[in-house]
């Protein structure tokens, strides 16, 4: 009798576990039709003429704000109690702010599309921003209402991924480059090229850690731009059939060398710290965290000679937000010189606000290490953007592989 009770308990536990593990997709699918409703109606409606329905003033906050952000962009003390710029925002504006982080642009878009009215603001990279605009999920922004917009570096303004068709859809936040990181105690001499990661014959084969997203195919394309000039790749996000196949082949050849696909930065940090990864593609913030461990993990980073993929991020506002004033207040706050400087120094990227540089900590003053004002540094950094069938490099004589093909290929590369 007693065992029957136990068994029933086990059975129900099993059901619960399988509900957690297995049924994510049904529940996701269940919430899906509601999410898909804007699909049919809104794309057409989301192309307003400039200056239509833009707010003209920012009033009192609504008391609440939900932020969807890259890790490190909206720190509220949960990573490090000393690192908190959400609290001062709450104190200043009365907007109680909850933060959710994501690991890839695809995850961000997926979270946004399955909860279309949950998040008020989002920090979107170029490979998410245009999708959000086209799907009608984000609204045009009146940059006049964001005081700090005036001080944003001109190089970040009026780009296709934040100002499509001349309409501002957000405030540029900062930019960064994906970097090559290695354990200095296991790799010597210091590498200068991505090639070290793409050769399964190296001693660190099986310990290569790479970013787990279809957009990573562009990293292979960046390498091919240097190693196979006859492929004539002009933009790593505009790949025709031949170019795309070459990138996919390069990644398939790399597969045996890979020890980790990461999207959660904490997992990559752990892999480098515990010896499971020796070399890999990373973000500056991960390197900083590793070097801050006790004892420090011996790692270095560079932007390799081939150039790199990177990001230029934009804060955007949900088209269905019911906290518009808090959202505008957040946009102005997050790119204000002092906060933008805090984000830049914590995350390790170039701040968007030109006045932020002088406010970064002493060892980073003037953003020299971020190259914030050095436009030459960014010449070979290819900001993430969503690949489309109409080639984004302007070619009209061929069709390029669209993002669907990229994501399909990505699952096939991983096998």
């Amino acid at each position: 009798m007693q065992h029957r009770v136990i068994l029933t308990a086990v059975a129900s536990l099993a059901v619960m576990v399988s509900a957690c593990g297995g049924s994510t997709s049904p529940s996701a699918a269940a919430s899906q039709p509601a999410a898909s409703q804007p699909a049919a109606s809104e794309p057409a409606a989301s192309q307003p003429a400039p200056s239509v329905s833009l707010p003209t003033s920012v009033g009192e906050g609504e008391g609440e704000l939900t932020v969807l952000a890259w890790p490190g962009y909206a720190e509220n003390g949960s990573t490090d109690p000393k690192v908190n710029w959400v609290k001062p925002f709450e104190d200043q504006t009365g907007c109680k702010t909850s933060v959710q982080v994501f690991g890839t642009s695809d995850e961000a878009f997926s979270l946004f599309s399955t909860n279309p009215d949950k998040f008020d603001v989002i920090s979107a990279s170029g490979d998410a921003s245009l999708r959000l605009v086209r799907a009608g999920y984000v609204q045009p922004v009146n940059v006049e209402l964001v005081t700090n917009y005036a001080d944003i570096f001109p190089a970040l303004k009026d780009k296709p991924y934040n100002t499509p068709d001349g309409i501002h859809y957000g405030i540029p936040h900062g930019r960064g480059s994906n970097l090559l990181m290695w354990r200095t105690d296991k790799v010597s001499p210091d590498p200068t090229s991505w090639a070290e990661m793409f050769d399964p014959g190296k001693p660190w084969t099986g310990k290569v850690s790479i970013y787990n997203a279809p957009i990573y195919i562009a990293d292979a394309a960046v390498v091919l731009m240097k190693t196979k000039p006859d492929l004539n790749i002009k933009n790593p996000y505009a790949l025709d059939d031949t170019q795309f196949q070459a990138a996919v082949d390069l990644l398939k050849a790399q597969k045996p060398a890979i020890g980790q696909y990461w999207t959660d930065y904490a997992l990559q940090q752990q892999a480098f710290s515990k010896g499971d990864a020796t070399i890999g593609t990373t973000w500056q913030v991960i390197t900083n965290l590793l070097q801050a461990e006790t004892p420090p993990v011996p790692v270095k980073v560079i932007k390799p000679v081939e150039g790199a993929t990177g990001w230029s991020d934009t804060w955007m506002i949900n088209s269905k937000t019911s906290h518009l004033n808090c959202a505008y207040k957040w946009l102005d706050y997050i790119v204000s010189p002092s906060v933008n400087a805090q984000v830049a120094s914590w995350f390790g990227e170039a701040p968007g606000n030109s006045k932020a540089c002088s406010l970064t900590p002493a060892d980073q003053t003037n953003c020299d290490i971020f190259y914030a004002a050095d436009d030459a540094f960014w010449k070979d950094v290819w900001y993430w953007q969503t690949p489309e069938a109409t080639c984004v490099d302007g070619r009209t004589d061929v069709h390029c592989k669209d993002f669907d093909a990229w994501s399909q290929a990505w699952t096939e590369i991983k096998g």
């Binding site: 065992h3 029957r4 136990i6 068994l7 308990a9 086990v10 059975a11 536990l13 099993a14 576990v17 399988s18 957690c20 593990g21 297995g22 049924s23 994510t24 997709s25 049904p26 529940s27 996701a28 699918a29 269940a30 899906q32 039709p33 898909s36 804007p38 699909a39 049919a40 794309p43 890839t104 695809d106 995850e107 878009f109 997926s110 599309s113 999708r131 086209r134 799907a135 279809p214 890979i258 020890g259 980790q260 696909y261 997992l267 752990q270 892999a271 515990k274 010896g275 499971d276 969503t386 489309e388 069938a389 669209d402 993002f403 669907d404 994501s407 699952t411 096939e412 991983k414 096998g415």
Partner: protein
Amino acid sequence: MLRRRSRLPRAAMSANRSAAASPAPTPSARRRVVAAFERRPRLRLGLLLAGPVGWLVIAYLGSLAILFLNAGWSRDPFTGLVHREWTLANFGQLVTNPLYRTVTLRTIGMAVAVTVTCAVLAFPIAYYMARVASTRVRGLLVVAILMPLWSSYLIKAYIWRQILSVDGVLNWALAPLGLRGPGLNEVGLWLVLTYLWLPYMILPVFAGLERIPASLLEASADLGGRGLMTFRRVILPLVFPALVAGSIFTFSLTLGDYIAPSLITTTQFIGNLILSNFGVPNLPLAATLSIVPLLVVTVYLLIARRLGAFEAL
């Protein structure tokens, strides 16, 4: 029953009071409702079950129905948003793309490996608990086996990452012997999943073994059956349905898991494919892929039923 009886006097009292107030004595509304239920046992049962059955049909079967619907929809290739236009393209992809076949077979292979390992490990433990251990030790063992289920699955999976890491606990412990752990790969995953689901195998087998009357074993011994013979001819056939019942858990839990695989390996299983399509987002393809483990588990359950596993639960 008790409850209603305790209420009766008060109902009677209020009936009395209303009788005092009004000239014609009519039974109170509550009494009439109670009486109506008393006469209609089917209505009683129906109302009692309406909640749970409604939950099952709407929340459970309803979401499955939406899943099937989604599998037939198409989507915008740029934004990934779903269009409600019918297409069989997702099923076409499922059948024609060799990737999905490979991943399905790999997942089933892992599920079988984990199930068999769990069965082999669980049997001696369950046997000791059911037929050898004292009541006290048995109680302690039940607690010990249930204890890991109290901590989060996620924590256990993350801890196993630490254990299997190059500089992890396992390699540290094995180093003096000149050995190395399996590392973060499929073999490591097999270990992790076996650890995670073992309790779900032990408990049904334990219950199955305990149900075997001692007299049968004695009879076998009396007829000259030695240990191995008794095990093969008496114990195993009787406990087999319980083994199959336990395997339902270990098999289906392995089949649907995607977190442990993505933490421990770089290999994709069905769950990982569904998740990555959910992330793209390509919900129709994710829904189509979800049907694969659903079919596999259905077939498995049908076989398990034939083997008598449901009677052993």
